[in-house]
Structure formats: structure tokens, C-alpha cells
């Protein structure tokens, strides 16, 4: 049977009612997991994996894949409505998504993230099904040294979006890097900054910090406003749907975000978060009015939301063609393959073509289902904005608490969330931006590890980082973005001095 016959066979499989049901179920569960702050796709799949044992492998894997990309759709919802990322790839969406909600454009933000996710998801599945094999060979060129330069560039992009005060942004970022060092150091095997708590040996999970810094801090700030009698109901102004102008501004960010997300997804290490950072900073630097970013620019929602969905297709390329997971979620999917008695590896597509194509094709169906599912949900979700503060705030605390507790069943984690909530409240009071901290937390560990892996391989010579074309490109871009932001900053200072 040739490849095209196998592909068609896969389509025939996924259109059977039972597999359509598994696809829908996975998408629905994924949406819920994405919406719940504290539960990302990796933790969500790990939690639900045991219930799939005993199902037939194709159905189970279709469902698990559905949870994965469904979570990418759901993650943006809470980012936009309550300034709380449902998973790490939705942090960037809080920057402009929540600001859009505050300006009464929550409906538009939700719509653009659903449509952007659909376009990006569909294009990335198409790329996955057409070019998976050549893409996977490209991904192998990225070793620790190349990966370090990519992370360096991502960090520089984060630093450049620190907002008004460079000092506050850098403070937030450095604190994030410090937090990223907590736990057992991979290269030396020694625990660092754990204070003797075994719960900290694996480091501080990103989601705990994010839920504390975003969700709880938001609760505290609103509580204070409520007690002072200054709380406001956000509501909706203008059309619920996208305006023609908003749609026009979103098209190109969605397409660019798709490209960035897919390519980043191919590369080993890190999830979709880096792709969202790169997409956001690309849109800001291309924009004619970069000052609108951070104040509710729809481009800042469209790009990253497309990027995190496109990354799913990219992430599946090395998994399905080589049996190599490129992030934590695909690592758990790999475990799922093994549990079903399927050996992932470079022979997977030859040995189980019907399974691989069924999973890939189910993603076309799933993306469509998610679009159909998410658009009407917008009408329901925006009603959340009208919930009185007295119900909304405790509700957020309960949902966030359940989400965090369900990951490890650890009370220690709940104390950690509370601590991060207080930190986040202090940040808000002193106008320190939170996003650089959480992004530095996500990027800090792979940044450090890939630096030391690269230096071990080269025997201590930093030349390894500029030895390959990929490394040269990203090093040059990193220097470029730093110089550019310095020049822009100085120009603003001079202008201020003249005025």
C-alpha cells in the first residue's frame, strides 16, 4: 500500500462514528483542561492517561491528541477574561487579551483566538501530513548549542517587551531566572535552593507560579478595589464579534504566527511558549504603532494564539516520524504509545501507518470541531464578565486551587500558590510587569542547561555557539534586538528631554 492509499485509509478511519466521538470527547476535555488555570495539556493528559487503558489504541491516541490541541484553544479563554493563563503558552495572550477585555472587546479577543487557532491548527496539520519526514531531518540539526542561541534570542525578546520601565522589567526577569534555578541541577545532579523541601527538588512548576502571580494576584487586586468600593464590571462595548478593521489587522499576524509556531514546534526542547514570545515580539516590531501593544492590540492576541496551536502540529512531527518527543506533552503522548504496545521510533510510520494517519487526520476534524465548539462558547464566556465580584473572586480561588491540587495532590503546592499570589499583588502595587518573570521561569532552565551542555561538548569554548549557521543567525538576531531596544529607549529619553 503506498503512502497516499494509507492516507486515504486514515481518513476513512477517522470518519467512523466511534472515532468522531473520541475526537470530540478529546477536544471537549482539552478545552476544559485549557480553561482550568493550573491544568495544562501535559498535566491534563497525564491525569487522563490511565482512563484510556483498555480502549483501542487508535481511539485513545485520537482522544489524547484532541486533549492536547483542545487545551491550546481553551488556554486563551481565561487569559483574556480574568488575566490568568490556562497554560504556559497562553501567557503572552494575557498581555493584550486582558486589556482588550478591559476595553470591552473580550468577544473580539475570544473570536480572534478561536479563528486564529483554527487557521493555524489546520495549516500545521496540513504541513505535518505533507512534509513530516523532511521537517524531522531539519530538526535534528538543532543541538544544544543551536538551541541555546534560540533561547538567548527568546530571552532578549522578553527583555525588549518589558514595558515602560526597563529596570522593573529586568528585575522581574531576573527574579524569574533565579526561581528557574530551584531544584536538582541536571548537569551536576545537586539540589539548589530547595531549603531541604523534597517538594522543591523538581523545581517550582510554571503553572504554580502563573496561577499565583496572575489569578490570585488578580483576586487580591479586585478584592481591594471591591472593599474600597471601586470595583468595575468590565462588560462588552461595541459588537461582540470582530469588526472588519480588527479582522484586517489580524490576518497577517495569524499567518506569521502559524509559521513561527510550526517551525518552533519541530525543534527539540521547550513547548509552544517560546513560539508565542517570538510571535508577539515579531508583531510588535512589525507594527506601525508598537505603543498600542500591551494596551489591547488585537495583533498581540492573534499572533501568539496562532503560534501555540501551530506548534502542536510541529511538535508531532519528530514524535511521529522519529519517536522523539520535543516537549513535556509529547513525552507523555510517547508514553501513551508504549502503553498501548506500540513502539514509537523511526519505523512507526512504516509499522503502524493506519494509526499514525488516523491520529493526524483526526486533527482536521478536531480543529473544525473546536472552532464550532468555541465560537458559541464566546457568548457564554463573556457573560462571566458580568458575574458579581462577590461570586467571581471566590470562584477563581476555588477553581485555581482545585487545578493546582489535582496535579500532584500536594498541599505544599497550595502554599506556594499563595506565596506567588502575594508576590503578584506586590508586583501590581509597584507596577512591576509579571510576564517577564513567568517567561524567564519557562526559558531559564533550558537556557542554562543548553548553555552548559554546549560548553561540555566543546570543552569550554564558547565558539560552539556561533559554529553553525543556525547559531550565527540567532546570535546576530539577539544582538540586533538588544541594540534596537537600546536605541529606541535612548530616543525616547532624548525626546523626553527636549519636550
Amino acid at each position: 500500500m503506498d503512502v497516499y492509499a494509507q492516507m486515504l485509509q486514515g481518513f476513512a478511519t477517522v470518519l467512523q462514528p466511534i472515532y468522531l466521538w473520541y475526537t470530540l470527547l478529546g477536544c471537549l476535555l482539552g478545552t476544559v483542561i485549557g480553561v482550568l488555570p493550573g491544568l495544562g495539556p501535559a498535566a491534563g493528559i497525564a491525569l487522563l492517561l490511565p482512563i484510556t487503558f483498555g480502549m483501542d489504541p487508535t481511539g485513545a491516541l485520537i482522544m489524547l491528541a484532541g486533549i492536547y490541541y483542545g487545551a491550546m484553544y481553551g488556554g486563551s479563554t481565561t487569559s483574556i477574561l480574568i488575566n490568568t493563563p490556562g497554560e504556559s503558552a497562553a501567557v503572552m495572550t494575557t498581555l493584550d487579551g486582558y486589556q482588550m477585555a478591559r476595553r470591552g472587546r473580550a468577544g473580539a479577543a475570544l473570536a480572534v483566538s478561536a479563528i486564529g487557532s483554527f487557521i493555524a491548527g489546520t495549516i500545521s496539520v496540513l504541513l505535518l501530513s505533507l512534509f513530516a519526514v523532511p521537517f524531522s531531518e531539519f530538526a535534528l540539526h538543532v543541538g544544544p548549542a543551536e538551541f541555546f542561541t534560540l533561547l538567548l534570542f527568546s530571552m532578549c525578546s522578553v527583555a525588549a517587551l518589558t514595558g515602560k520601565s526597563l529596570a522593573r522589567g529586568l528585575f522581574s526577569m531576573l527574579l524569574g531566572l533565579v526561581i528557574a534555578t530551584v531544584g536538582i541541577d541536571l548537569q551536576s545532579g545537586m539540589p539548589r535552593f530547595t531549603g531541604g523541601h523534597v517538594e522543591l527538588l523538581d523545581g517550582i512548576p510554571f503553572l504554580i507560579a502563573a496561577v499565583g502571580l496572575f489569578a490570585l494576584a488578580e483576586v487580591f487586586v479586585n478584592l481591594e478595589a471591591h472593599l474600597r468600593g471601586r470595583s468595575e464590571v468590565l462588560g462588552i462595548s461595541g459588537p461582540l464579534w470582530l469588526t472588519r478593521e480588527e479582522w484586517r489587522r489580524s490576518v497577517w499576524p495569524i499567518l506569521r504566527g502559524t509559521g513561527i509556531g510550526f517551525v518552533k514546534g519541530l525543534l527539540p526542547g521547550g513547548g509552544a511558549t517560546i513560539a508565542t514570545v517570538l510571535s508577539y515580539s515579531l508583531e510588535r516590531s512589525l507594527s506601525k504603532a508598537p505603543e498600542r501593544f500591551g494596551k489591547g492590540a488585537i495583533e498581540g492576541v492573534a499572533g501568539p494564539e496562532a503560534a501555540n496551536n501551530a506548534a502542536v502540529g510541529g511538535n508531532l512531527v519528530p514524535l511521529l516520524t522519529l519517536g522523539l518527543p520535543s516537549g513535556s506533552t509529547t513525552a507523555i503522548l510517547l508514553g501513551a504509545f508504549v502503553m498501548f504496545g506500540i513502539q514509537p521510533g523511526p519505523m512507526l510510520m512504516q509499522q503502524h501507518p493506519e494509526l499514525v494517519w488516523s491520529v493526524i487526520h483526526s486533527m482536521y476534524v478536531g480543529n473544525l470541531a473546536l472552532l464550532v465548539l468555541n465560537l458559541p462558547l464566546i457568548f457564554i464566556f463573556v457573560r462571566l464578565l458580568y458575574i458579581p465580584t462577590g461570586l467571581m473572586l471566590p470562584g477563581i480561588v476555588v477553581i485555581a486551587g482545585i487545578g493546582i491540587y489535582s496535579i500532584n495532590g500536594s498541599v505544599f503546592d497550595l502554599y506556594l500558590v499563595l506565596a506567588f499570589g502575594l508576590l503578584g499583588y506586590a508586583f501590581r502595587k509597584f507596577q512591576v510587569p509579571t510576564a517577564p518573570l513567568v517567561l524567564a521561569m519557562v526559558l531559564g532552565d533550558p537556557l542554562e542547561q543548553s548553555l552548559r551542555q554546549g560548553l561540555t561538548i566543546s570543552g569550554g569554548s564558547p565558539a560552539i555557539f556561533v559554529a553553525s549557521p543556525i547559531g550565527q543567525v540567532f546570535t546576530a538576531l539577539s544582538v540586533g534586538i538588544l541594540v534596537l531596544s537600546f536605541v529606541l529607549h535612548q530616543r525616547r529619553v532624548w525626546r523626553g528631554a527636549l519636550a
Binding site: 497525564a46 492517561l49 490511565p50 487503558f53 535534528l140 540539526h141 538543532v142 543541538g143 544544544p144 548549542a145 536538582i184 541541577d185 541536571l186 548537569q187 551536576s188 545532579g189 545537586m190 539540589p191 523534597v198 517538594e199 522543591l200 527538588l201 523538581d202 527539540p268 526542547g269 519528530p318 522519529l322 519517536g323 522523539l324 518527543p325 513525552a331 507523555i332 510517547l334 508514553g335 501513551a336 508504549v338 502503553m339 504496545g341 513502539q343 514509537p344 521510533g345 523511526p346 519505523m347 500532584n408 495532590g409 500536594s410 542547561q449 551542555q453 561540555t456 561538548i457 570543552g459
Partner: protein, 337 residues
């Protein structure tokens, strides 16, 4: 199997009623063992679902339940965190509770030696040894490293000329295999280039991409790439050659005169303060499941070596590995305390 394999012993009165009830359910009528589980058992494992340790725990749970040795409601409890430390602490809190067992591997010995956790293997009740996972040395198919002898020679001449990918840091078994190779070659172990990756898959990725020269990990992670002609398996760090089409042609380091041998054992332990009857039940129950054809087929499929042993064998294994690793860590200057 309807007859009972347990030794007849004076049953304590308190367990008798429950035992009789179980005998009826389980269809065991020949004789009553001194102790059997009276309720669902918790099989603890220190990782999340999906990893290789989790698979071992589930394999054990399914086999015990299929043989009717534990109630069908028996579950696997995933307690990830702290390099198994969270799960260790969980089991230790269950002192005297025979309905909790834990599947452990080398961190039960190494965590304490490396100063990661105050929990020591001596605090647990060893129950049985399940099997060994072996470690292979592999290079990219077009690597200039021709074979094991060539690798040995390169390490002997200049230990910094070859980089090794090892997963999950210093002190893990694959790191120790690289150190043993350097020691056997008489090379300076401090100059050895061992690059730690978060998982075996990341190390294999870096080796396939030519970023790292040699991957040291389990057959499970490497054999598919050997089948596809992308990696060459050059040596196995085991006492004898492994079976299987890809593996039987791979020489052991011992054949080449190098003392490189490590065992990635899986052992079942219980909480402290179990009675001898309870220990005997678990020894026997686990022995019985490891003899089933399903268990043996599963071992073969995953390239694992059967190495059943009872409580005493497990205790000796812990002691001898602790002594051996202590010496190695001392040589490396990595001792925790």
C-alpha cells in the same frame, strides 16, 4: 491455577475471617496462607503516568490482579516529584501497612548517597527483585567511532575527545557506565565529557543529530533506531550478551576486557515494620507472577532480563550497590554527605 502455593503457617486469629473471605473469592482452597491482602493494594511509583517506571508498576499491578493475588480494585498511585523522594516519603509514612507496595529503582540507593534526600533504602522493607534493565553504548551510523575497541582506545588516549549523552544527571546509571569505561581505560575521569539530558529521548536526539558522539541508555530507547539503521549499537554494559536480532551481535565490555557493568534493577519494597508473614506473601505473590508466560513475554518485548529474587536477595542487592556506588562517587568527588 486453583491450588495454593503458600506455605501453611499458623494463621493469626485476627486475619482469619478476612483470609477465609478472600479464599472464597479467589478460589484458593488447598490451604490458607499466613497473610493475604484484605483490601485493595496501592502500588506506589515515584513518576507520573507513561514513563518506564510507571509501566513497570502497571505491569505488576495487572499481573497480580490477573492471578487473583490482590483485589481487582488495586490501583497504581503515581506520586511524582523530587526524583522519587515524594513517593518514598509517602510509603515510609505507611509503616506497618502491608497494603502499600512501591516499585523502586536505583534512586532508592543513590538519593541518600548524593545528598539529595535523607531517606535511606534501609528504612524500607525489601520484598522482591523483579528484573534488570541493561544499558547499551550506541553511536550514529556514520560515526567515525568504528566499534567498542575503537571507543575504548579513543577514551584511553584522550578522554575529552569523545562526548557521551547520559540522561538525568550525575550519579545515574548511564553516567556511571561512562565513568567505568574511563576507569577501565585508565583515563582521567574528571576530563570525561558527559552531557546530561532531561530524558533518554533527548540524548538520543542529540546523538542522531551528531551533536554528541555516544549515547548510553537502555535497549528500549535505542533498538528502534538500530533497526532503522540510524544508530549502531557497539557494546552492552552487562555480564553477558542480550538476546534478540539487534542485540545478540553486540559484545559486552567484559569480552573486550573492560570492567563496565551496570544493572538497572527494579525492586519492590514495602513500608517499614511489616511482619514476616506479610513479607512472605509478597515474595511468593511476586514470584508467581514473574513465572507467568505473559510476564515473560512482556520482559522479552521490552528487552528486560528476568532476575527474580526474594526479600533477602533485594536486601543484598541494595547493600552491594550502595557499597559499589559509594566507592564510585568517592572517586568522582560527588559524595553528598
Amino acid at each position: 491455577m486453583s491450588h495454593c502455593v503458600f506455605r501453611i503457617a499458623a494463621a493469626p486469629l485476627r486475619g482469619l475471617c478476612a483470609t477465609l473471605a478472600l479464599l472464597l473469592v479467589g478460589g484458593v482452597h488447598a490451604a490458607e496462607p499466613a497473610w493475604t491482602p484484605t483490601k485493595a493494594v496501592e502500588v506506589v511509583v515515584g513518576v507520573g503516568p507513561g514513563g518506564s517506571m510507571d509501566r513497570t508498576a502497571r505491569m505488576l499491578r495487572d499481573a497480580l490482579a490477573a492471578e487473583g493475588l490482590v483485589p481487582a480494585e488495586t490501583t497504581v498511585a503515581n506520586k511524582p516529584g523530587g526524583g522519587h523522594a515524594v513517593a518514598f516519603a509517602h510509603t515510609l509514612r505507611q509503616a506497618g501497612n502491608p497494603h502499600v507496595i512501591q516499585v523502586v529503582n536505583s534512586p532508592v540507593v543513590t538519593n541518600k548517597l548524593l545528598g539529595r534526600s535523607p531517606i535511606d533504602y534501609t528504612q524500607f522493607t525489601p520484598l522482591a527483585v523483579l528484573f534488570d534493565e541493561q544499558f547499551l553504548f550506541a553511536v550514529k551510523s556514520d560515526s567515525p567511532i568504528r566499534d567498542a575497541r575503537d571507543l575504548f582506545e579513543r577514551v584511553r588516549q584522550d578522554p575529552a575527545s569523545v562526548s557521551f549523552s547520559v540522561s538525568s544527571g550525575v550519579g545515574t546509571l548511564n553516567h556511571i557506565a561512562a565513568v567505568q569505561l574511563a576507569q577501565a581505560a585508565g583515563a582521567d575521569i574528571q576530563r570525561l565529557k558527559t552531557v546530561s539530558f532531561g530524558s533518554a529521548a533527548e540524548g538520543v536526539t542529540a546523538t542522531l543529530g551528531g551533536h554528541v558522539d555516544v549515547a548510553i541508555t537502555t535497549p528500549f530507547s535505542l533498538v528502534p533506531f538500530a533497526e532503522a539503521g540510524r544508530l549502531r549499537l557497539i557494546a552492552v554494559a552487562a555480564g553477558k550478551r542480550l538476546p534478540g536480532a539487534q542485540l545478540e551481535g553486540v559484545p559486552t565490555w567484559r569480552e573486550l576486557g573492560a570492567d563496565v557493568e551496570i544493572r538497572g534493577w527494579r525492586v519492590v519494597v514495602g513500608p517499614p515494620d511489616l511482619t514476616p508473614e506479610q513479607v512472605r506473601f509478597w515474595e511468593e505473590a511476586i514470584r508467581r507472577v514473574t513465572l507467568t508466560p505473559q510476564w515473560q513475554a512482556e520482559l522479552e518485548r521490552n528487552h528486560l532480563t528476568d532476575r527474580y529474587g526474594g526479600s533477602e536477595a533485594a536486601r543484598q542487592l541494595f547493600d552491594s550497590d550502595a557499597a559499589r556506588l559509594h566507592a564510585l562517587y568517592t572517586a568522582l568527588g560527588r559524595l553528598g554527605n
